[in-house]
Assembly symmetry: C2
Homo-oligomer: 341 residues x 2
DNA sequence: GGCCGGTGCTAAATCGATTTAGCAACACGC
DNA sequence: GCGTGTTGCTAAATCGATTTAGCACCGGCC
């Protein structure tokens, strides 16, 4: 494609009108007294010339750019991070906006740079996202700019989008209880005693609270709780190998605090000759890509990353949305939980 | 933070000079004859007021926005997609640029919209990325705009960044050969006969060519080749279950065409009571997240997603880069290949 | 005939930068 | 004392849109 871009002035000239008239007509301004004929001529000329407004120029005048800054500590390492982006992208597209994506690695220096980079480009709003949910430092932002925290909170900016972890935690226990499990349940990843006073993350705390409340309501107690600091497959494998030795067949169900731990548990159970869900049921959290690949498929409470990303964009664009926006965590039932009588 | 942004005019006023002078000084323009004193005053005033140029305004005048459009068919579903973005983000940041990320789901309609959306915002260049490497349709783009294809090619735009799949394919075979494997090698995922005339993807074709050339050079032949159209764990599992039955202990090594197939193969081997790498060695491609979680760790030829993303940004910013830019695929050695004598 | 109000449109200012063109003051050479 | 350069700086144009303020014309009414 060659030549320069068509400008509003070109359209106006072609229509035999001023660019004032062309601007008003193309923006559908109400209460202008421009004739029907003028409307027709401008719209026709614009179509004919393939006119598209230069948003840089418009932005300069209107201070609106139809662009949202999406600043994240991490974008690639987890499916969660990219899910947030995808959801945000979807709703931004639907609203005719576009996303400026920046990564900070969680370093305050880069966070500050990122904020400046997006403000220099006059974004309409900023979304701050984190992997590990937490109270997030937000560099100073001018008053008018709308800020939404995604999977994070901040005192000065009260608009946060979070997964409804409390309800998710309850759902995991409800699922096991409805399948008839009442005994021999193991909590893999957290021990109330050992981790007392340690801060893991805001949302994980709620997840665990949901689990414990649902247990208590049903007068259920865990057979064992195993604290694991890093929720990686290797650690899940090691912990489960030990626990199988200790508890043997008393072990009937596992609540794993994420899918990677569950994956490690599968490996340990297979080595010990125990089958899932025949001998042991497992329910977990996150719905990692992994969960679908495992055999049998892992039943898990999904982290609703895309829905969260979508909610964040909606919140940026709707000035009335405020406070904590909780996004439900869907229960993804596969084949790792057996019914017992 | 309150109040309006500081403008160049504010800085100039404070320094007691014209904004022309302030602009020239802050941009480090050569050959202006402005005094050292004027320099000091402007720089001092800018620092004092915390001046940051409005890039929208600058962009309007200079037609440069320090912004690159990153248009991808998919951003979230695979680690590959998000790796490309992360790499691009890294080098964009290093070069003081920022990325406008858009997703198209591979639909021409959305591709066209995406191009218009980024051009309307006067980006300095556009990167088109795909998951499945292919000749990509690129909507018309004005002459001056630099276009780079990432994991794709296009006739009109000769700048492409691709993984060096041919060398990667060779590397897989070299690895097995050096470990002493000469017989009982299975190619999992492709059968030359069955797939004749079918087009999978440009890069996969090169991968397979590298594999076959390296085999031929060493006068090696596959024990069997198994065509699998969709490279998912379930299909790898099914195919391997069948192949183990058919070939038994003759099977000594597997070249899996991606890690998800290898994962399925692991499951089938474990069920058949065969150990990796004791009974069967496996080498694979991609270096999915999965590969590190598997037991034993999977040796695989990595898809260099981040390096590719970085290379794409470099190519956009350097007008001299042209043609195919091949990014090496690193060999990631874990524990799935045994030495045999 | 003059005033009023409505209709249909446009000139010019504006956003915040960059860039072009050129002015005033001074030194120098002859 | 007069042209010629150099030095140090600025006024104004420009990019492409939006928006403010207001002009010219017409018809109707007294």
């Amino acid at each position: 494609m060659a030549g320069k871009r068509v400008t509003l002035a070109d359209v106006a000239r072609r229509a035999g009108l001023s660019s004032t008239a062309a601007s008003m007509i193309l923006n559908g301004r109400p209460d202008t007294r421009l004739s029907q004929d003028a409307h027709d001529r401008v719209i026709h000329a614009a179509a004919e010339l393939g006119y598209r407004p230069n948003l840089t120029a418009r932005g300069l005048r209107t201070e609106r750019t139809d662009t949202i800054g999406f600043i994240s500590d991490v974008v690639a390492t987890t499916r969660f991070a990219s899910g947030l982006i995808k959801g945000a992208l979807d709703n931004a597209h639907a609203a005719g906006h576009v996303l400026l994506v920046l990564e900070t690695a969680g370093e305050p220096q880069r966070e500050a740079e990122a904020v400046e980079a997006v403000l220099d480009r006059q974004v309409d709003g900023v979304i701050f996202a984190t992997m590990r949910s937490r109270e997030l430092y937000v560099p100073p932002v001018p008053d008018g700019t709308r800020v939404v925290l995604l999977n994070a909170t901040n005192e000065q900016h009260p608009v946060s989008v979070l997964p409804d972890e409390y309800a998710g935690g309850r759902a995991a226990i409800e699922l096991l209880a409805e399948a008839g499990h009442r005994e021999g349940i193991l909590l893999l990843g957290h021990d109330a005693e050992k981790e007392r006073g340690l801060f893991r993350s805001m949302t994980v705390a709620r997840r665990i609270a949901g689990i414990r409340d649902a247990m208590a309501e049903r007068s259920l107690a865990f057979l064992a709780e195993e604290s694991i600091w890093l929720w990686e497959p290797q650690n899940g494998y090691a912990a489960m190998t030990k626990l199988i030795k200790r508890h043997g067949r008393a072990l009937q169900a596992i609540v794993a605090l994420n899918d990677r731990l569950a994956f490690g548990a599968y490996q340990a159970l297979a080595e010990a000759g125990l089958s899932v869900p025949g001998d042991v049921s497992i329910v977990s959290f996150d719905n990692d890509e992994l969960a679908a690949y495992m055999r049998p498929g892992l039943t898990t409470i999904a982290l609703p990353h895309e829905a969260m990303g979508r909610a964040a964009v909606d919140a940026v664009l709707d000035p009335d949305r405020t406070g904590e926006i909780l996004v439900p965590m869907p229960v993804v039932e596969r084949d790792s939980v057996a019914h017992v009588s």
